[in-house]
Symmetry: D2
């Protein structure tokens, strides 16, 4: 029988490449009675960077978590590792940001209810009131922050206070039609996921389906990426495409695109929640 998620932890590591990394980490885990269930590793020879994701079982742990974490910290310092560990029993807390489109919102909420997304969803934020009934159906708090050019800075501050207060560690922009400021983005580094409705870097910016129609492409795409201060330029987590033809009007592209946006965003969110994604430079490592 597979070990219950309640007893497994996940360690993510990124550091300059050098010999002994795999052995060092395996040794410290084994020495404390943590049994490695899955280990995936990648070396980027161009960047000379080492990446590893280790999922391990705690059932036979010979020490407590604090001791194990201390031992990992020691190894990490020796090798100059960036690292983080996800212990069981502490679900990530995800906030959804939406405007008026409901397809990504419904999709994520239904997946959450079906057990596909390992997180809590304490709240939904919107710059409009329209989707409040959806939030209500799923029994989730809905906060409206109307945005005008004048109010934006102030409203963002309030949003950030709310997120901090509620302990949010993942923000998902589920077709949220406002650009977040650099300050906002800086507060949740590699913790804000956006869905862009094109195959980036094609059709950056507004109205990508109209751009795609005008260019006469034969495939349209969607891209989930971490938000950075450069619009549509953040590290890509996932992309996908679907076929279109001369028969497709802009509204057909929009319809086909909705399906893409939902699945691409949902995959990116799930991988993030499963601690499968590591960011470095403007790229991601996504472990299967």
């Amino acid at each position: 029988m597979p070990p219950s998620p309640a007893e497994t932890a996940t360690l993510l590591v990124c550091c300059p490449d050098r010999p002994g990394l795999v052995a060092g980490l395996a040794q410290v885990l084994y020495g404390h009675g943590a049994n490695i269930l899955d280990s995936d590793q990648h070396t980027d020879p161009v960047a000379a960077k080492f990446f590893q994701r280790i999922r391990f079982e705690l059932g036979e742990l010979r020490t407590d978590r604090a001791t194990l974490e201390g031992a990992i910290r020691e190894v990490a310092e020796r090798f100059a590792m960036d690292w983080r560990i996800a212990w069981p029993g502490r679900a990530k807390r995800m906030a959804l940001f939406v405007s008026r489109y409901d397809h990504c919102l419904y999709d994520l909420l239904l997946r959450h209810r079906a057990g596909e997304l390992a997180c809590e969803i304490p709240l939904i934020v919107s710059n409009h009131a329209e989707l409040e009934p959806v939030a209500k159906q799923f029994d989730i708090a809905f906060h409206v922050f109307p945005i005008t050019r004048e109010s934006k800075a102030r409203q963002e501050e309030l949003e950030r206070d709310l997120l901090r207060e509620r302990g949010i560690d993942l923000v998902v922009l589920a077709r949220y039609m406002q650009v977040l400021s650099g300050e906002f983005v800086a507060g949740w580094p590699a913790q804000i996921i956006n869905i862009h409705h094109s195959f980036l870097p094609a059709f950056i910016g507004g109205k990508p389906y109209h751009q795609a129609y005008a260019r006469g492409v034969k495939l349209i795409g969607a891209t989930a990426h971490y938000a950075t201060s450069d619009l549509d330029e953040g590290p890509i987590i996932e992309q996908d495409v679907t076929r279109c033809s001369h028969r497709d009007s802009v509204s057909d592209l929009v319809r086909k695109g909705r399906d893409l946006e939902k699945t691409v965003l949902a995959r990116a969110v799930r991988w993030h929640l499963d601690d499968r994604v590591l960011v470095y430079g403007n790229k991601t490592v996504v472990f299967d």
Copy 2:
């Protein structure tokens, strides 16, 4: 039994949309004993344009081809149609332009030999001598026109003379690493097919696999399009993508891309040869 291609003709039509177009063409064909095998039609409501492809059988023709063509011309004039007709027994004549990469060249030659491409290949043109042995294996004339900045205009003139002399009506740039001049392109409008090794309009220009690697995309693509005087901006005929990941080096992308380039280019060439592609503005209609 399906009618033999030796007895079927294909009519392609493009004109301003108005009532009576389908009936008008169907009537003239039926009246001359031409039996419609396949008819595909498209109306672009934005451009108010009508497109049709009709494949018909000649076995029971009551008149001769010239008479039928005259009757079609009459209808075409009445409706201000752009039109062309492909009669059986006159295969298109395709020239392949290559440089040093052989994968698209081999792919097209093998498909031609397998009967997938309805054309003759009287000649291969290259700016380098390396691929001459391939041409020899397939018994096809190989012409080398080395290109320098100084010689380019003159060499292109010689190439154009050669193409005209040999009655070429389709030029395929099978990873030909030279940009053709506007004059050259103007000589074969919507008759020069290029393969670009990216998902256009992403990564226009040189070294698209390097660009894709740097951007950290999760899919790479290839695009077959008609060449126009604007590099990489011509009407797109076909595109496809394949998945890549953080594990792929630039050379992995190049390897995966080769497979894409081959299949995307081959499909575009086959569709063109089967008279399935109509160009309007910067777009194509590709009938199945």
Copy 3:
């Protein structure tokens, strides 16, 4: 501007192949002032069958619908055509059959609300009560018919009465876990769409994801088909697949499969509602 759907009708035709079919239909439509917007045609040379879908505009009709329909009937009789016509203003009426899984149900209801499905949904039928709240959210009548071996025949009769009474002309089995009897199926020929959670004909019957897991396949699929008295043997409308690997447990396959089931079923339903699907023998013609 594209003509509004409120003014367009769709004619579907299937008959033995012979000359004059396209011209005959085009002539009768043109003669009555019906402007052809889209016409797609297919000839199966093996079965010697002709198929056509014509979408036409009624705005300039010179006669009334009854007269036009009479004229079409005359042509149809002359050529021994099976035919049907969908006039504007009469939406199809779709009943959804479900059991306990809600993903296809939600998906279809949300698409309907987003305007993707041109139909009315007067009712939902289930053999269990669990999904009643979903029906309520969307304001649709929910009818429970619990099924036991003993009650099955009687319950089906009641279901059929209900469907007839409510004028249902499309039944969609959205992961309905009961096999319909031959009598039931015969009442809605080519009007009952089922989603099977495998790439048919692989993994016919029960627990296809378990079968796929045991066989170690590298792709899993889903198939939407018309229900016939032979389980999983009816004419296929649409299929799709998604990649899986040694890392996927049965429950991963189930999760990935849900996404496939939703999109494959939704496409099949949409095409049926748009009168794009013709059945002949055990196959379908699906016009783009």
Copy 4:
């Protein structure tokens, strides 16, 4: 700079799952100065099996290969591991078996020449003489063993002698139209790769494209698998599909299928040559 393949070795391991496996192997490699470049691991919780692929660098090795291999053997015995190691400088030797179809043959030979396949190809075996010129073009020995019902056993013996004599460790059936006997297959366990021209387990046996046509499927597939004594039942390495429609005749399916067969077989062969594939029961683990 990435380490040259000339200095990297690959270790593949499969054993009953238990704690300490990852640490044990990492330790022994690190202790001998072998630097782990890539390590991928999988645990099948249902079968309670552990799988690992480790690629490591030999540049800084403190001992010689024999000593390292001895140390690995010790660990392997302690944990009851099945294992094999691929040292640099010893390319696998692949024999291609063909009949009359040349598309997979050409595809593999061209990929080999392009450096995509890390192996030697000492010989091609066929039951027909037709493809000898292809072998000649690529300067590879071509051996004809005509097969009749009577001669089959004897010819197979001669083939096996030839393969043994030439040190073949991978046999690729590149559309070879003869079924190999159980004895033959037993001689190269998990070392014979076949391409079946359907999406297994659909359309097992002969004429799968005809079967697919008759069933009216909307996708066709191809499957690369290890040959076992049960025809078309061996462990699947790779599968893929392509879209088809009512417009496709059997010969269209054959044409589209050729492209699938080529790419699916090539991927399976490459992964095998890169020591990415582990067989257990009737399944494979394929490490990226």
